[in-house]
Structures are given as structure tokens and as C-alpha cells.
Symmetry: C2
Subunit: 148 residues, 2 copies
DNA sequence: ATAAATGCAAATCTTTTGCCATCTC
DNA sequence: GAGATGGCAAAAGATTTGCATTTAT
């Protein structure tokens, strides 16, 4: 079951208090816009939505808060993994090891991972073509740096 | 086994010819820079590398060619999935259905997918934290639009 | 010779920053 | 009232575009 909007807002409020983040009107509206949808909006899209209730809000404020929410663990980027576009000339099907710390990306062959399968029914009428697995964790280097 | 650089360059040449793309010096050098590494460089990084052999090359040329290579299926973005940053307030562990056509992203609960496991040994000394699965394919809407 | 590709500069888009006014605690 | 936050405008970055020149076929 998905967490209800009300519960998410509660979590939001407590976490803000916990971190000493002021509960401003704009913050509440921005977070609600995010928590109320599962459409993975862009910052721009969030801005447009929030503008409906706070026409004077600034795009910079939206960006600043998105940042704060990420830092607070209240938000994730769908691709939190790489700071910018990354390219890959390896056309063989493969998966990635992504270091959550240094953001390095390492290819792993497709067969290094047990075949992924949906449990039961495919959701909706989605026509599956392939699976992309990102293995998140700490690379050897970052893992050992932790011991310092 | 990974395809050798030489083989990749062969594929590159044939595909270019096939598509009527001129085999310019810059193109060869750019593609080689990409094919010779698995470091997932940014466009900027590619530019810097290519500049070593063609100091006069323009960043715009690098961008233009990256585009062409993607279109030609000679290159993939690691996150080919979304055109820009996408946000997600759903903090529960979950996976994504990504429509390769309309780029829509839909959450699916973690347990909709059979637990992912590495076959045998974890590569290197990578310390695995969690798995992120992207199920790529066509959403119901785009799948049906195909029949037109 | 023709069509495509390059290089350059300017344009566009996205995201961040600095600073003062304002608001929360 | 002190410190955090918002708004605005400017800055910084990333990517694209237009156009004249050069290059591949």
C-alpha cells in the first residue's frame, strides 16, 4: 500500500522540525505538490503547479527547496545516480554498478544478475522489452575510505 | 566477453555507411574515444579527450555527433530514460516502469519484481546496498498507438 | 558536384548564487 | 530578535542552432 498524502505530509513536518528547517508556506506547498503525485514532475513542472496557489513564488525557491528535500532524504531523483548525462558505447545488454558516493558507474554483464522477472501479472498493459538493473552501493574505493 | 575496440569500430563504420553518414575524421575520433572506455564520460569529457588529437574540434561538433550516434543506435545514454531531472517523493523502495516512447515513468512496488540477485561473487569489492530495476518497454497507451 | 559535416558564435535552457527583505521559531 | 528562507536578478553551466566554410563521397 502507498503511504497516504496525509501521512507523507506528517513525515515531512516531523523531518523538517527534526532538522530545524522552517515550515514555511512555500515549503509546504512545494512538498505537497510533490507528494500528491506520482508523475515524477520536473522542477519546472513543480514550479507551474505551485504557482497556482502561490503566484508570486520564484523558480529559484523551488530549486532551493528541492535541494533541501533531497538533502533531508525527503525526495529522490529518479536518476539520482549521475550528476549529468553519461554516455555508454557498450551496446551489449548489461547492467550497472553505481557507487552512491563517488557516482562511478561500472558495467556488469547481463548474466551477472539472475534473470529479473515480474511477480505474476504485468502491470497495466505495459509491454515489457527489457530490464535495466542498477546495483547501488559503495565501490571498493569508497567502501574502504569509510574506515578512516 | 566484451567486444574488442576494433570490432566496435568496424560496427561503427558499417553502420555509418549503412546510414549514409560521412566517415569524417572527427567522427571516428569521437566514437573511438567513446568506444575505448567504459568510464561513461560526459560530453565535456569526450570533448577534452578528443581535443588531444584534434585541438581545433568544437564542442558543438561533439554534441552533434553524440546525438547522431544515439540516433544511429551506436550509443546509449546511461539514463536514456528521461529528458531531464525527474523527482520522486515516494520514499518506499520501489522500481520503475519506463516507457521508451513517451518517457513516462510509473512506480511499481518492490515486491512486484522477484528479488534480484547477483550470480555468484559480487564483482570487485563492491558493497551492494540495494537494487534499482527499470522495466523498459511500451506503456499501454504507446503500445496501442503502434497499431495505427 | 552535391550533400553532409565542421567550427564558431550566439541563442536557449537549466540550475545556482548573492543579496536584501521577510518570515518562522 | 536571531537565524533561516523567499524573491529577484544576475551568473554559471549545459546543450542547441544558424550559418558560412570545408570535407566526404
Amino acid at each position: 500500500m502507498q503511504k497516504s498524502l496525509a501521512r507523507r505530509m506528517d513525515t515531512f513536518r516531523s523531518r523538517c522540525t527534526e532538522l530545524g528547517m522552517a515550515l514555511t508556506h512555500q515549503r509546504l506547498v512545494i512538498y505537497e505538490a510533490l507528494a500528491a503525485t506520482d508523475e515524477h514532475p520536473t522542477p519546472e513542472a513543480v514550479y507551474e503547479r505551485v504557482r497556482k496557489s502561490i503566484p508570486s513564488i520564484s523558480l529559484a525557491t523551488v530549486y532551493k527547496n528541492i535541494r533541501s528535500f533531497e538533502d533531508a532524504g525527503l525526495l529522490r531523483q529518479v536518476n539520482l545516480l549521475h550528476e549529468s548525462v553519461r554516455l555508454d558505447a557498450n551496446l551489449d545488454n548489461h547492467h550497472h554498478l553505481v557507487c552512491v558516493q563517488c557516482k562511478s558507474v561500472t558495467d556488469i554483464p547481463e548474466d551477472a544478475i539472475a534473470p529479473v522477472r515480474m511477480n505474476g501479472h504485468a502491470p497495466g498493459k505495459f509491454r515489457i522489452q527489457r530490464y535495466n538493473v542498477e546495483v547501488l552501493g559503495l565501490c571498493a574505493h569508497c567502501a574502504s575510505a569509510r574506515h578512516s
